[in-house]
Protein backbone atom coordinates (compact mmCIF):
# COMPACT_ATOMS: atom_id res chain seq x y z
CA UNK A 1 0.00 0.00 0.00
CA UNK A 2 2.71 2.45 1.09
CA UNK A 3 4.79 1.61 -1.97
CA UNK A 4 1.83 2.38 -4.24
CA UNK A 5 1.30 5.73 -2.56
CA UNK A 6 4.92 6.74 -2.67
CA UNK A 7 5.09 5.78 -6.33
CA UNK A 8 1.95 7.76 -7.10
CA UNK A 9 3.43 10.67 -5.16
CA UNK A 10 6.49 10.64 -7.37
CA UNK A 11 4.40 10.42 -10.52
CA UNK A 12 2.21 13.26 -9.35
CA UNK A 13 5.22 15.37 -8.44
CA UNK A 14 6.58 14.97 -11.94
CA UNK A 15 3.14 15.56 -13.46
CA UNK A 16 2.80 18.85 -11.67
CA UNK A 17 5.88 20.30 -13.35
CA UNK A 18 5.61 22.68 -16.22
CA UNK A 19 5.96 20.40 -19.20
CA UNK A 20 4.41 17.30 -17.88
CA UNK A 21 4.03 15.88 -21.33
CA UNK A 22 7.76 15.81 -21.87
CA UNK A 23 8.44 13.46 -18.98
CA UNK A 24 9.90 10.15 -19.99
CA UNK A 25 10.69 7.43 -17.53
CA UNK A 26 12.39 5.30 -20.13
CA UNK A 27 15.97 5.98 -21.20
CA UNK A 28 15.28 6.76 -24.84
CA UNK A 29 12.44 6.89 -27.29
CA UNK A 30 13.01 4.59 -30.20
CA UNK A 31 12.18 6.35 -33.43
CA UNK A 32 11.71 3.58 -35.93
CA UNK A 33 10.36 4.34 -39.37
CA UNK A 34 6.85 2.97 -39.50
CA UNK A 35 4.00 3.00 -41.94
CA UNK A 36 1.07 5.22 -41.22
CA UNK A 37 0.37 8.85 -40.44
CA UNK A 38 2.86 10.74 -38.32
CA UNK A 39 1.04 12.60 -35.55
CA UNK A 40 4.11 14.39 -34.26
CA UNK A 41 3.89 18.16 -34.37
CA UNK A 42 5.99 19.88 -37.02
CA UNK A 43 8.83 22.16 -35.98
CA UNK A 44 6.77 25.20 -36.75
CA UNK A 45 3.84 23.92 -34.71
CA UNK A 46 6.14 23.24 -31.79
CA UNK A 47 7.42 26.80 -31.97
CA UNK A 48 3.88 28.19 -32.13
CA UNK A 49 2.97 26.08 -29.14
CA UNK A 50 6.05 27.31 -27.29
CA UNK A 51 5.22 30.96 -27.89
CA UNK A 52 1.57 30.48 -26.91
CA UNK A 53 2.60 28.55 -23.83
CA UNK A 54 5.10 31.18 -22.76
CA UNK A 55 2.53 33.91 -23.28
CA UNK A 56 -0.10 32.06 -21.28
CA UNK A 57 2.15 31.31 -18.37
CA UNK A 58 4.03 34.56 -18.17
CA UNK A 59 1.39 37.08 -19.14
CA UNK A 60 -2.09 35.60 -18.74
CA UNK A 61 -1.80 33.63 -15.52
CA UNK A 62 -0.51 36.44 -13.28
CA UNK A 63 -3.47 38.68 -14.13
CA UNK A 64 -6.20 36.12 -14.77
CA UNK A 65 -7.59 36.13 -11.23
CA UNK A 66 -7.87 39.91 -11.24
CA UNK A 67 -9.79 39.93 -14.51
CA UNK A 68 -12.07 37.22 -13.25
CA UNK A 69 -12.87 39.22 -10.14
CA UNK A 70 -13.48 42.51 -11.90
CA UNK A 71 -14.94 41.16 -15.14
CA UNK A 72 -12.98 43.82 -16.99
CA UNK A 73 -12.27 43.15 -20.65
CA UNK A 74 -8.58 42.15 -20.92
CA UNK A 75 -7.54 44.75 -23.47
CA UNK A 76 -3.76 44.70 -22.72
CA UNK A 77 -3.66 40.91 -23.03
CA UNK A 78 -5.55 40.96 -26.29
CA UNK A 79 -3.28 43.63 -27.66
CA UNK A 80 -0.24 41.60 -26.70
CA UNK A 81 -1.65 38.43 -28.22
CA UNK A 82 -2.35 40.37 -31.39
CA UNK A 83 1.23 41.65 -31.49
CA UNK A 84 2.59 38.14 -31.12
CA UNK A 85 0.41 36.83 -33.91
CA UNK A 86 -1.63 34.55 -31.66
CA UNK A 87 -4.88 36.13 -32.80
CA UNK A 88 -6.46 36.07 -36.23
CA UNK A 89 -4.46 33.06 -37.27
CA UNK A 90 -6.94 32.05 -39.97
CA UNK A 91 -6.78 35.26 -41.95
CA UNK A 92 -5.17 34.55 -45.33
CA UNK A 93 -1.79 35.95 -46.16
CA UNK A 94 -3.31 38.16 -48.85
CA UNK A 95 -5.02 40.14 -46.09
CA UNK A 96 -1.98 40.26 -43.86
CA UNK A 97 -2.60 37.18 -41.75
CA UNK A 98 -0.87 33.86 -41.24
CA UNK A 99 -3.31 31.64 -43.12
CA UNK A 100 -3.07 28.83 -40.60
CA UNK A 101 -5.44 25.90 -40.40
CA UNK A 102 -7.74 24.67 -37.65
CA UNK A 103 -5.18 22.36 -36.09
CA UNK A 104 -2.71 25.18 -35.49
CA UNK A 105 -5.54 27.29 -34.08
CA UNK A 106 -6.49 24.47 -31.70
CA UNK A 107 -2.86 24.16 -30.60
CA UNK A 108 -2.64 27.83 -29.76
CA UNK A 109 -6.07 27.95 -28.16
CA UNK A 110 -5.31 25.02 -25.90
CA UNK A 111 -2.24 26.79 -24.57
CA UNK A 112 -4.06 30.09 -24.07
CA UNK A 113 -6.92 28.36 -22.31
CA UNK A 114 -4.43 26.94 -19.85
CA UNK A 115 -3.93 30.51 -18.72
CA UNK A 116 -7.51 31.70 -18.65
CA UNK A 117 -10.51 30.61 -20.70
CA UNK A 118 -12.05 34.06 -20.38
CA UNK A 119 -9.13 35.58 -22.27
CA UNK A 120 -9.06 32.65 -24.66
CA UNK A 121 -12.77 33.02 -25.42
CA UNK A 122 -12.41 36.71 -26.13
CA UNK A 123 -9.58 35.89 -28.56
CA UNK A 124 -11.34 32.88 -30.09
CA UNK A 125 -14.58 34.76 -30.70
CA UNK A 126 -12.65 36.77 -33.25
CA UNK A 127 -12.02 33.65 -35.27
CA UNK A 128 -15.71 32.78 -35.01
CA UNK A 129 -16.74 36.18 -36.32
CA UNK A 130 -14.22 36.03 -39.17
CA UNK A 131 -15.06 32.53 -40.30
CA UNK A 132 -18.10 33.42 -42.45
CA UNK A 133 -15.96 35.95 -44.31
CA UNK A 134 -13.16 33.45 -44.68
CA UNK A 135 -15.40 30.85 -46.25
CA UNK A 136 -17.88 33.02 -48.10
CA UNK A 137 -16.54 36.54 -48.40
CA UNK A 138 -15.54 37.96 -51.75
CA UNK A 139 -12.21 39.72 -52.25
CA UNK A 140 -13.43 43.21 -51.42
CA UNK A 141 -15.20 42.10 -48.26
CA UNK A 142 -12.19 40.11 -47.11
CA UNK A 143 -9.71 42.86 -47.81
CA UNK A 144 -11.88 45.44 -46.12
CA UNK A 145 -13.00 43.68 -42.98
CA UNK A 146 -10.24 41.16 -42.41
CA UNK A 147 -7.60 43.68 -43.36
CA UNK A 148 -8.90 45.92 -40.58
CA UNK A 149 -8.26 43.18 -38.05
CA UNK A 150 -4.65 42.66 -39.08
CA UNK A 151 -3.86 46.36 -39.07
CA UNK A 152 -5.13 47.04 -35.60
CA UNK A 153 -6.15 44.86 -32.69
CA UNK A 154 -9.86 45.17 -33.43
CA UNK A 155 -12.50 42.63 -32.50
CA UNK A 156 -15.43 41.19 -34.39
CA UNK A 157 -18.44 39.15 -33.31
CA UNK A 158 -20.76 36.44 -34.59
CA UNK A 159 -24.43 37.38 -34.17
CA UNK A 160 -26.68 34.41 -34.72
CA UNK A 161 -28.13 33.36 -31.38
CA UNK A 162 -31.33 35.00 -30.20
CA UNK A 163 -33.32 34.87 -27.00
CA UNK A 164 -35.73 32.48 -28.73
CA UNK A 165 -33.29 30.35 -30.72
CA UNK A 166 -29.72 29.20 -30.07
CA UNK A 167 -29.27 25.58 -30.97
CA UNK A 168 -32.17 25.85 -33.37
CA UNK A 169 -30.50 28.25 -35.79
CA UNK A 170 -33.31 27.84 -38.27
CA UNK A 171 -35.70 29.27 -35.70
CA UNK A 172 -34.20 32.76 -35.55
CA UNK A 173 -36.57 35.61 -36.09
CA UNK A 174 -34.43 38.65 -36.97
CA UNK A 175 -35.83 40.07 -40.19
CA UNK A 176 -33.99 41.55 -43.16
CA UNK A 177 -36.05 43.42 -45.72
CA UNK A 178 -34.67 44.55 -49.04
CA UNK A 179 -35.26 48.24 -49.78
CA UNK A 180 -33.52 49.42 -52.91
CA UNK A 181 -29.79 48.99 -52.45
CA UNK A 182 -30.05 48.29 -48.75
CA UNK A 183 -31.42 45.82 -46.33
CA UNK A 184 -33.27 46.91 -43.19
CA UNK A 185 -32.56 44.65 -40.23
CA UNK A 186 -34.87 44.33 -37.27
CA UNK A 187 -34.44 41.93 -34.43
CA UNK A 188 -32.69 40.99 -31.25
CA UNK A 189 -29.60 38.92 -30.68
CA UNK A 190 -28.40 37.48 -27.39
CA UNK A 191 -25.25 35.98 -25.84
CA UNK A 192 -22.99 37.60 -28.37
CA UNK A 193 -19.36 37.24 -27.32
CA UNK A 194 -17.38 40.43 -27.89
CA UNK A 195 -20.72 42.11 -28.53
CA UNK A 196 -19.74 45.30 -26.82
CA UNK A 197 -16.21 45.45 -28.15
CA UNK A 198 -16.59 44.44 -31.76
CA UNK A 199 -15.84 46.70 -34.67
CA UNK A 200 -18.14 44.73 -36.97
CA UNK A 201 -20.53 41.81 -36.73
CA UNK A 202 -21.48 38.87 -38.87
CA UNK A 203 -25.26 38.77 -38.68
CA UNK A 204 -27.65 36.04 -39.73
CA UNK A 205 -31.17 37.23 -40.49
CA UNK A 206 -34.25 35.80 -42.13
CA UNK A 207 -34.59 37.44 -45.49
CA UNK A 208 -37.55 35.39 -46.68
CA UNK A 209 -40.61 36.03 -44.51
CA UNK A 210 -42.49 33.03 -45.91
CA UNK A 211 -42.44 30.42 -43.12
CA UNK A 212 -42.64 27.59 -45.63
CA UNK A 213 -39.31 28.44 -47.27
CA UNK A 214 -36.74 25.83 -46.25
CA UNK A 215 -33.85 26.92 -44.04
CA UNK A 216 -31.25 26.64 -46.77
CA UNK A 217 -32.94 29.43 -48.75
CA UNK A 218 -34.51 31.63 -46.12
CA UNK A 219 -31.53 33.23 -44.38
CA UNK A 220 -28.90 35.74 -45.41
CA UNK A 221 -25.54 36.56 -43.89
CA UNK A 222 -24.57 40.21 -43.50
CA UNK A 223 -21.55 42.15 -42.33
CA UNK A 224 -22.78 44.93 -40.08
CA UNK A 225 -20.55 47.75 -38.88
CA UNK A 226 -20.97 48.16 -35.13
CA UNK A 227 -21.42 51.91 -35.34
CA UNK A 228 -24.36 51.69 -37.75
CA UNK A 229 -27.28 53.70 -36.36
CA UNK A 230 -29.89 51.43 -34.84
CA UNK A 231 -27.46 48.97 -33.28
CA UNK A 232 -28.20 49.01 -29.56
CA UNK A 233 -25.71 47.18 -27.43
CA UNK A 234 -27.13 45.71 -24.25
CA UNK A 235 -25.64 45.38 -20.82
CA UNK A 236 -22.75 43.04 -20.08
CA UNK A 237 -24.10 39.71 -18.93
CA UNK A 238 -22.58 38.16 -15.82
CA UNK A 239 -21.33 34.66 -16.58
CA UNK A 240 -20.54 32.01 -14.02
CA UNK A 241 -17.11 31.57 -15.51
CA UNK A 242 -15.06 33.27 -18.21
CA UNK A 243 -16.21 36.46 -16.59
CA UNK A 244 -13.84 38.79 -18.35
CA UNK A 245 -15.24 37.78 -21.71
CA UNK A 246 -17.73 40.35 -22.99
CA UNK A 247 -21.15 38.75 -23.59
CA UNK A 248 -24.11 40.94 -24.41
CA UNK A 249 -27.48 41.17 -26.04
CA UNK A 250 -27.75 43.41 -29.09
CA UNK A 251 -30.91 44.95 -30.52
CA UNK A 252 -31.07 45.84 -34.20
CA UNK A 253 -33.66 48.51 -34.89
CA UNK A 254 -34.03 49.55 -38.52
CA UNK A 255 -30.36 48.99 -39.14
CA UNK A 256 -29.44 49.71 -42.75
CA UNK A 257 -26.88 47.44 -44.36
CA UNK A 258 -25.65 48.05 -47.92
CA UNK A 259 -26.11 45.20 -50.35
CA UNK A 260 -22.33 44.99 -50.77
CA UNK A 261 -22.20 43.57 -47.27
CA UNK A 262 -24.22 40.51 -48.12
CA UNK A 263 -22.18 37.31 -48.10
CA UNK A 264 -22.55 35.39 -51.35
CA UNK A 265 -26.16 36.38 -51.91
CA UNK A 266 -29.64 36.39 -50.52
CA UNK A 267 -30.66 33.03 -49.11
CA UNK A 268 -27.15 31.64 -48.67
CA UNK A 269 -26.87 32.53 -45.00
CA UNK A 270 -27.73 29.23 -43.34
CA UNK A 271 -25.03 27.30 -45.09
CA UNK A 272 -22.47 29.96 -44.28
CA UNK A 273 -23.40 29.96 -40.61
CA UNK A 274 -23.19 26.17 -40.43
CA UNK A 275 -19.91 26.16 -42.31
CA UNK A 276 -18.51 28.61 -39.80
CA UNK A 277 -19.52 26.29 -36.96
CA UNK A 278 -17.70 23.39 -38.60
CA UNK A 279 -14.43 25.20 -38.33
CA UNK A 280 -14.85 26.81 -34.96
CA UNK A 281 -16.13 24.00 -32.72
CA UNK A 282 -12.75 22.17 -32.50
CA UNK A 283 -10.97 25.17 -30.95
CA UNK A 284 -13.71 25.40 -28.32
CA UNK A 285 -13.01 21.78 -27.43
CA UNK A 286 -9.29 22.49 -27.42
CA UNK A 287 -9.94 25.28 -24.96
CA UNK A 288 -11.71 22.81 -22.71
CA UNK A 289 -8.68 20.52 -22.83
CA UNK A 290 -6.39 23.37 -21.88
CA UNK A 291 -8.65 24.22 -18.99
CA UNK A 292 -8.73 20.58 -17.88
CA UNK A 293 -4.95 20.48 -17.92
CA UNK A 294 -4.78 23.56 -15.73
CA UNK A 295 -7.32 22.13 -13.32
CA UNK A 296 -5.24 18.97 -13.09
CA UNK A 297 -2.01 20.87 -12.50
CA UNK A 298 -3.51 23.09 -9.83
CA UNK A 299 -5.21 20.20 -8.08
CA UNK A 300 -2.01 18.16 -8.10
CA UNK A 301 0.04 21.04 -6.77
CA UNK A 302 -2.41 21.57 -3.97
CA UNK A 303 -2.63 17.88 -3.14
CA UNK A 304 1.12 17.82 -2.71
CA UNK A 305 1.08 20.82 -0.38
CA UNK A 306 -1.99 20.49 1.76
CA UNK A 307 -1.79 18.49 4.94
CA UNK A 308 -4.79 17.23 6.78
CA UNK A 309 -5.24 14.46 9.34
CA UNK A 310 -1.47 14.62 9.64
CA UNK A 311 -0.76 13.57 6.05
CA UNK A 312 -0.46 15.19 2.67
CA UNK A 313 -3.58 14.96 0.57
CA UNK A 314 -1.87 12.65 -1.91
CA UNK A 315 -1.15 10.21 0.84
CA UNK A 316 -4.76 9.98 1.77
CA UNK A 317 -6.54 7.55 -0.49
CA UNK A 318 -9.48 9.76 -1.36
CA UNK A 319 -7.30 12.63 -2.62
CA UNK A 320 -5.26 10.35 -4.83
CA UNK A 321 -8.33 8.69 -6.29
CA UNK A 322 -9.79 12.06 -7.27
CA UNK A 323 -6.58 13.05 -8.97
CA UNK A 324 -6.33 9.71 -10.70
CA UNK A 325 -9.82 10.30 -12.05
CA UNK A 326 -8.79 13.76 -13.22
CA UNK A 327 -5.74 12.33 -14.99
CA UNK A 328 -7.83 9.68 -16.71
CA UNK A 329 -10.45 12.23 -17.71
CA UNK A 330 -7.77 14.51 -19.11
CA UNK A 331 -6.27 11.67 -21.14
CA UNK A 332 -9.66 10.77 -22.53
CA UNK A 333 -10.49 14.32 -23.51
CA UNK A 334 -7.06 14.68 -25.06
CA UNK A 335 -7.43 11.54 -27.11
CA UNK A 336 -10.98 12.36 -28.17
CA UNK A 337 -9.83 15.76 -29.33
CA UNK A 338 -7.16 14.13 -31.48
Amino acid sequence: MAAVFSRSCRVLKSVSRFDWRSQHTKAALQHEPKLGFNFELTEQQKEFQATARKFAREEIIPVAAEYDKSGEYPVPLIKRAWELGLMNTHIPESCGGLGLGIFDACLITEELAYGCTGVQTAIEANSLGQMPLLIAGNDQQQKKYLGRLTEEPLMCAYCVTEPVAGSDVAGIKTKAERKGDEYIINGQKMWITNGGKANWYFLLARSDPDPKTPANRAFTGFIVEADTPGVQIGRKELNMGQRCSDTRGIVFEDVRVPKENVLIGEGAGFKIAMGAFDKTRPPVAAGAVGLAQRALDEATKYALERKTFGKLLVEIYEGTAQIQRLIIAREHIGRYKN
Binding site: S14, R17, F18, D19, S22, Q23, H24, T25, A27, A28, L29, E43, Q44, E47, F48, A50, T51, K54, F55, E83, L84, G85, L86, T89, L98
Partner: protein, 252 residues
Protein backbone atom coordinates in the same frame (compact mmCIF):
# COMPACT_ATOMS: atom_id res chain seq x y z
CA UNK B 1 28.48 53.80 -35.80
CA UNK B 2 25.75 51.95 -37.62
CA UNK B 3 28.41 49.95 -39.40
CA UNK B 4 28.91 47.58 -36.51
CA UNK B 5 28.20 43.90 -36.96
CA UNK B 6 27.37 41.57 -34.12
CA UNK B 7 27.81 37.82 -33.85
CA UNK B 8 25.69 36.08 -31.26
CA UNK B 9 26.48 32.53 -30.21
CA UNK B 10 23.55 30.42 -29.06
CA UNK B 11 23.50 26.96 -27.54
CA UNK B 12 20.83 24.31 -27.68
CA UNK B 13 20.33 22.89 -24.20
CA UNK B 14 17.77 20.80 -22.37
CA UNK B 15 14.85 23.04 -21.47
CA UNK B 16 15.07 24.50 -17.98
CA UNK B 17 11.68 23.16 -16.95
CA UNK B 18 12.45 19.53 -17.80
CA UNK B 19 13.33 17.11 -15.05
CA UNK B 20 16.77 15.71 -15.81
CA UNK B 21 17.23 11.98 -15.73
CA UNK B 22 20.53 10.13 -15.62
CA UNK B 23 21.06 7.43 -18.23
CA UNK B 24 20.87 3.87 -16.86
CA UNK B 25 24.50 3.23 -17.85
CA UNK B 26 25.50 6.39 -16.00
CA UNK B 27 27.42 7.86 -18.90
CA UNK B 28 25.43 11.03 -18.96
CA UNK B 29 22.00 12.51 -19.01
CA UNK B 30 19.00 11.39 -21.08
CA UNK B 31 18.73 13.71 -24.06
CA UNK B 32 16.74 11.59 -26.52
CA UNK B 33 13.19 12.78 -26.88
CA UNK B 34 13.68 15.39 -24.17
CA UNK B 35 12.57 18.92 -24.83
CA UNK B 36 15.42 21.23 -25.79
CA UNK B 37 15.43 24.97 -26.23
CA UNK B 38 17.80 27.91 -26.44
CA UNK B 39 19.93 28.53 -23.37
CA UNK B 40 18.20 31.33 -21.41
CA UNK B 41 21.38 33.40 -21.20
CA UNK B 42 21.82 33.03 -24.96
CA UNK B 43 18.26 34.35 -25.39
CA UNK B 44 19.25 37.40 -23.37
CA UNK B 45 22.32 37.84 -25.60
CA UNK B 46 20.20 37.61 -28.78
CA UNK B 47 17.71 40.09 -27.31
CA UNK B 48 20.52 42.53 -26.56
CA UNK B 49 21.91 42.24 -30.09
CA UNK B 50 18.46 42.81 -31.58
CA UNK B 51 17.89 45.82 -29.33
CA UNK B 52 21.21 47.31 -30.44
CA UNK B 53 20.09 46.78 -34.03
CA UNK B 54 16.78 48.50 -33.30
CA UNK B 55 18.66 51.43 -31.80
CA UNK B 56 20.57 51.52 -35.09
CA UNK B 57 23.89 50.98 -33.34
CA UNK B 58 24.44 47.64 -35.00
CA UNK B 59 23.82 46.97 -38.65
CA UNK B 60 23.64 43.20 -38.79
CA UNK B 61 23.10 40.46 -36.25
CA UNK B 62 24.40 36.99 -37.08
CA UNK B 63 23.38 34.01 -34.97
CA UNK B 64 25.70 31.01 -34.79
CA UNK B 65 25.42 27.64 -33.12
CA UNK B 66 27.77 24.64 -32.98
CA UNK B 67 26.38 21.17 -32.84
CA UNK B 68 24.38 18.47 -34.55
CA UNK B 69 21.56 19.10 -36.99
CA UNK B 70 19.01 19.90 -34.28
CA UNK B 71 20.86 23.14 -33.52
CA UNK B 72 19.07 24.59 -36.49
CA UNK B 73 15.92 24.90 -34.37
CA UNK B 74 17.81 27.14 -31.98
CA UNK B 75 19.17 29.27 -34.79
CA UNK B 76 15.64 29.54 -36.21
CA UNK B 77 14.44 30.84 -32.86
CA UNK B 78 17.22 33.44 -32.88
CA UNK B 79 16.20 34.46 -36.41
CA UNK B 80 12.56 34.70 -35.35
CA UNK B 81 13.63 36.98 -32.51
CA UNK B 82 15.25 39.34 -34.97
CA UNK B 83 18.66 38.11 -36.10
CA UNK B 84 19.46 38.71 -39.76
CA UNK B 85 21.57 35.69 -40.63
CA UNK B 86 22.27 32.31 -39.18
CA UNK B 87 25.33 30.09 -39.32
CA UNK B 88 25.25 26.49 -38.28
CA UNK B 89 28.61 24.89 -37.58
CA UNK B 90 27.74 21.29 -38.06
CA UNK B 91 29.27 18.78 -35.70
CA UNK B 92 28.34 15.11 -36.15
CA UNK B 93 26.13 13.81 -33.37
CA UNK B 94 28.75 11.30 -32.26
CA UNK B 95 31.31 14.01 -31.58
CA UNK B 96 28.84 16.52 -30.22
CA UNK B 97 29.12 15.10 -26.72
CA UNK B 98 32.78 16.07 -26.59
CA UNK B 99 32.19 19.61 -27.74
CA UNK B 100 33.42 21.66 -24.81
CA UNK B 101 34.02 25.37 -24.23
CA UNK B 102 37.55 25.32 -25.66
CA UNK B 103 36.47 23.77 -28.95
CA UNK B 104 33.53 26.12 -29.28
CA UNK B 105 35.74 29.08 -28.40
CA UNK B 106 38.12 28.13 -31.17
CA UNK B 107 35.26 27.92 -33.66
CA UNK B 108 33.83 31.25 -32.58
CA UNK B 109 37.21 32.93 -32.69
CA UNK B 110 37.76 31.75 -36.23
CA UNK B 111 34.24 32.79 -37.27
CA UNK B 112 34.46 36.20 -35.65
CA UNK B 113 37.67 36.89 -37.50
CA UNK B 114 36.30 35.54 -40.76
CA UNK B 115 33.05 37.51 -40.55
CA UNK B 116 34.92 40.60 -39.34
CA UNK B 117 32.39 41.32 -36.61
CA UNK B 118 32.81 44.08 -34.09
CA UNK B 119 30.90 42.57 -31.23
CA UNK B 120 30.61 38.99 -30.06
CA UNK B 121 27.72 38.38 -27.68
CA UNK B 122 27.20 35.19 -25.71
CA UNK B 123 25.30 34.05 -22.69
CA UNK B 124 27.43 34.02 -19.58
CA UNK B 125 27.07 30.26 -19.14
CA UNK B 126 25.02 27.35 -20.39
CA UNK B 127 22.49 25.83 -18.05
CA UNK B 128 23.56 22.27 -18.85
CA UNK B 129 27.24 22.44 -18.00
CA UNK B 130 27.48 25.80 -16.16
CA UNK B 131 31.02 26.18 -17.50
CA UNK B 132 31.15 29.96 -17.79
CA UNK B 133 34.25 29.63 -19.99
CA UNK B 134 33.36 30.01 -23.65
CA UNK B 135 33.13 33.80 -23.73
CA UNK B 136 36.33 34.30 -21.83
CA UNK B 137 38.25 31.74 -23.87
CA UNK B 138 37.10 33.26 -27.13
CA UNK B 139 38.23 36.69 -26.03
CA UNK B 140 41.57 35.23 -25.09
CA UNK B 141 42.01 33.49 -28.43
CA UNK B 142 41.03 36.62 -30.33
CA UNK B 143 42.92 38.89 -27.99
CA UNK B 144 39.84 41.07 -27.75
CA UNK B 145 38.71 42.93 -24.63
CA UNK B 146 35.90 41.23 -22.73
CA UNK B 147 32.99 42.43 -20.62
CA UNK B 148 31.50 39.43 -18.85
CA UNK B 149 28.36 39.21 -16.67
CA UNK B 150 27.06 42.33 -18.39
CA UNK B 151 23.95 43.87 -16.91
CA UNK B 152 24.03 46.91 -19.15
CA UNK B 153 25.63 47.51 -22.53
CA UNK B 154 25.78 50.91 -24.21
CA UNK B 155 27.81 52.44 -26.97
CA UNK B 156 29.75 55.58 -26.01
CA UNK B 157 31.38 57.06 -29.02
CA UNK B 158 33.66 54.34 -30.31
CA UNK B 159 33.88 52.54 -26.97
CA UNK B 160 31.56 49.97 -25.51
CA UNK B 161 30.47 50.78 -21.98
CA UNK B 162 29.71 47.59 -20.10
CA UNK B 163 28.33 47.50 -16.58
CA UNK B 164 29.15 44.16 -15.03
CA UNK B 165 27.78 42.39 -12.01
CA UNK B 166 30.67 41.20 -9.90
CA UNK B 167 30.88 39.80 -6.39
CA UNK B 168 31.41 43.19 -4.82
CA UNK B 169 28.68 44.97 -6.74
CA UNK B 170 28.75 46.65 -10.12
CA UNK B 171 31.78 47.48 -12.20
CA UNK B 172 31.80 49.71 -15.26
CA UNK B 173 34.26 49.04 -18.05
CA UNK B 174 34.89 50.88 -21.24
CA UNK B 175 36.06 48.51 -23.93
CA UNK B 176 37.58 49.24 -27.29
CA UNK B 177 35.83 47.51 -30.15
CA UNK B 178 35.94 44.75 -31.27
CA UNK B 179 34.98 43.13 -27.98
CA UNK B 180 33.36 40.08 -26.41
CA UNK B 181 30.40 40.54 -24.07
CA UNK B 182 28.65 37.81 -22.10
CA UNK B 183 25.11 38.42 -20.97
CA UNK B 184 23.92 38.08 -17.41
CA UNK B 185 20.38 37.66 -16.17
CA UNK B 186 19.41 41.29 -15.64
CA UNK B 187 20.64 42.58 -18.98
CA UNK B 188 17.15 42.53 -20.51
CA UNK B 189 13.90 40.58 -20.82
CA UNK B 190 14.00 38.51 -24.03
CA UNK B 191 11.12 38.96 -26.43
CA UNK B 192 8.86 36.23 -27.73
CA UNK B 193 9.36 34.85 -31.20
CA UNK B 194 6.18 36.12 -32.84
CA UNK B 195 4.20 33.72 -34.99
CA UNK B 196 4.72 35.65 -38.25
CA UNK B 197 8.49 35.59 -37.66
CA UNK B 198 8.44 31.89 -36.88
CA UNK B 199 6.65 31.29 -40.17
CA UNK B 200 9.12 33.43 -42.09
CA UNK B 201 12.10 31.45 -40.89
CA UNK B 202 10.61 27.99 -40.67
CA UNK B 203 12.29 26.80 -43.83
CA UNK B 204 15.76 27.99 -42.84
CA UNK B 205 18.41 25.34 -42.65
CA UNK B 206 18.31 21.85 -44.10
CA UNK B 207 19.12 22.40 -47.73
CA UNK B 208 17.91 25.98 -47.72
CA UNK B 209 20.59 28.31 -48.96
CA UNK B 210 19.23 31.51 -47.51
CA UNK B 211 21.46 32.99 -44.86
CA UNK B 212 23.07 29.71 -43.96
CA UNK B 213 26.65 28.82 -44.42
CA UNK B 214 28.05 25.52 -43.58
CA UNK B 215 31.40 25.70 -41.99
CA UNK B 216 33.67 24.67 -44.80
CA UNK B 217 35.98 22.81 -42.55
CA UNK B 218 37.30 19.32 -42.53
CA UNK B 219 35.28 18.62 -39.42
CA UNK B 220 33.83 15.62 -41.13
CA UNK B 221 37.02 14.55 -42.76
CA UNK B 222 37.62 11.96 -40.12
CA UNK B 223 41.03 13.13 -38.97
CA UNK B 224 42.09 11.52 -35.76
CA UNK B 225 41.09 13.35 -32.66
CA UNK B 226 43.65 15.99 -32.10
CA UNK B 227 42.60 16.90 -28.66
CA UNK B 228 41.50 14.99 -25.69
CA UNK B 229 39.60 16.30 -22.77
CA UNK B 230 39.99 14.37 -19.60
CA UNK B 231 37.22 14.65 -17.11
CA UNK B 232 36.98 13.18 -13.70
CA UNK B 233 34.27 10.78 -12.89
CA UNK B 234 31.42 12.94 -11.76
CA UNK B 235 29.72 10.09 -10.02
CA UNK B 236 26.16 10.35 -11.18
CA UNK B 237 27.04 11.89 -14.47
CA UNK B 238 29.71 9.41 -15.30
CA UNK B 239 32.84 9.89 -17.30
CA UNK B 240 32.85 11.50 -20.66
CA UNK B 241 34.99 9.59 -23.13
CA UNK B 242 38.12 11.55 -23.85
CA UNK B 243 37.93 12.79 -27.39
CA UNK B 244 37.58 15.95 -29.30
CA UNK B 245 36.36 16.67 -32.78
CA UNK B 246 39.08 17.53 -35.22
CA UNK B 247 38.36 21.19 -34.93
CA UNK B 248 42.12 21.55 -34.65
CA UNK B 249 42.12 21.20 -38.41
CA UNK B 250 39.31 23.75 -38.65
CA UNK B 251 41.15 26.21 -36.51
CA UNK B 252 44.33 25.53 -38.41
Amino acid sequence: MAELRALVAVKRVIDFAVKIRVKPDKTGVVTDGVKHSMNPFCEIAVEEAVRLKEKKLVKEVIAVSCGPAQCQETIRTALAMGADRGIHVEVPAAEADCLGPLQVARVLAKLAAKEKVDLLLLGKQAIDDDCNQTGQMTAGLLDWPQGTFASQVTLEGDKLKVEREIDGGLETLRLKLPAVVTADLRLNEPRYATLPNIMTWQSWGGGCRRGRRRSSSPVNSGCPCAESQEEEDRGDQGRRPGCGPDLQALCG
